[in-house]
Amino acid sequence: MPECDAIREEFSPLLDGELSPDQQAAVEAHLALCSECLRELDRYKKVTELYRAMAPVAAPAGFEDRIARALRPRVIGFHTGRHARRRLWPLLAAAAVLLVCAVPALWPIFHAPDRADMRLSKLDTGAAPEDVLETPTIESKPRSAPMLDILEPADDATSKPASEKPKAPPQESPSPADVSQTLRSTTPKSIDNLALSTPKEEEQYTTMPKERAAADISPSNPPASATAVSAPPPVLKNGIQAEAQPTPVPAPPLIAKEADRAPMVTVEAHVGASVDRQGSPSARKIVANRTFVLENDIWRQEDYAGAQTVSLTRDSGQFKTLCELHPEVAEFAALGPRVIFYLKDIWYSLEPTAAQ
């Protein structure tokens, strides 16, 4: 009926309280006579009630932090952008100058494979490893020294003919492993190692004789002498000698201090977690300041005491959301296929995907 259609157009405003008293009275008058329209209105009313009864969904935890993070660069740019840019120019100019100077200096090193061959040939002909091992000398230079100055020792070492170098006794020629290590420490990579020497290189430092260490501490000293060449071969930290040694050589204090800084007890796991080795296969890991223990192929947070858990699968949207909102969850997940962890008053049990 046309009248019914017109009246039903007013159902929503009626339910939402948007009709004037006159309009409302007109609709109610029709409803008193039309049971079909009354039923239809009742359906609309139920629909509205059902949706209004749905649980409200609050913004997830950490939402404000997300916004703060998203705004941070903008706040800086908005309030201090010009000043920041002004401060940036000298740095950029310095970086450009450094680049222009460094590229020609580095070019021969990167594009002269014969130099590495030269070192090999020196070693093959009995040259002492210390003659080529320039890294400790570089390390002893002040770190603020210009890069070109730092490069000089390495260049010297490679530019001198092998015949000018003091020859070592044939029995002291290094093993292939030593050659490999030597090349690693003398190739251009050593430039990058000025501030960050690898533990292996530090280990090498502990093997240096006292005379060599003293020479290294003083950059003005001449290159390693024949005395240093006749020094015994490497001794590892744990006291095991690589080759037969007449007398063990103690590490110089300065170098030993460097070596002490090397991570001997804890290592960085691939997820950035600190892993306790404890000298045996790991059954306990610390991730994001939480301790996890491995039991029955499940990594559980140490303080988990059997409380009810909410199950999560790795391919679920909730898991992705949690990872997004709480990055540490991804670190927990990296522990293994099954992980029990605590987050925001809930114990979660992370399970593999169906395919797994």
Binding site: P56, P60, F63, V310, T321
Partner: protein, 200 residues
């Protein structure tokens, strides 16, 4: 429906003015005050948490960046909803262009929300009641997702946040008469859908 203390306009005006002066704490207060309302509406409109989080975040970021453009003629929440509506529509178009389904899944409804998981873990209600409630919510959300974008928008703003027709018209950028007819059509379509689903 989200129940929050209605922000007084003068307080909002003060906050907006402070935001314009670069007071980040004032903006934090705006976020704290409106985040749940904005998020709830966006979630119901888009139907999944993944998009809702991103869009809601973008709403506040855009609001902060364009706070100077807020004239104060409308309510702050209406202005926020206007941004939310535009960004949500863009998201729907992006998803459609990429051929991705924007609708909510059962898994999304039952597993996506940590809040729901929390209820599941701690509620005194029986597991059956909890499951039934989620089954119902799923059916309701599915029917809502089947509505056309424009009808769903006005219905969400009206039913989940209680905006007046005038405010809806402002946020959605359409006349009040259109709001009325779209709401009516939305209720009619939802009633039919829910009847087919066995809910009504």
């Amino acid at each position: 429906m989200v129940v929050l203390n209605e922000a007084r306009d003068d307080t909002d005006t003060t906050l907006v003015e402070a935001c314009r002066q670069g007071d980040i704490n004032a903006f934090n207060e705006v976020v704290r005050r409106y985040k749940n309302r904005v998020y709830n509406v966006i979630f119901r409109f888009l139907g999944n948490h993944e998009d809702a989080v991103e869009v809601a975040q973008e709403v506040f970021v855009r609001a902060y960046r364009s706070i100077d453009r807020f004239q104060g003629e409308a309510k702050l929440c209406t202005w926020l909803y206007t941004i939310a509506v535009n960004l949500s529509r863009n998201r729907i178009r992006d998803r459609a262009r990429k051929g991705r389904n924007l609708g909510v899944s059962l898994e999304a409804l039952t597993e996506d929300a940590p809040g729901i998981a929390q209820i599941a873990a701690s509620t005194a209600a029986s597991p059956r009641t909890f499951a039934e409630q989620h089954e119902l919510d799923d059916a309701l959300q599915r029917c809502l997702n089947r509505l056309g974008e424009t009808h769903r928008l006005v219905f969400v703003l009206r039913v989940f946040d209680g905006l007046s027709y005038e405010e809806i018209a402002e946020s959605a950028g359409c006349p009040q008469g259109t709001v009325k007819s779209r709401l009516n059509q939305a209720r009619k379509s939802l009633a039919e859908c829910l009847k087919r689903s066995g809910v009504l």
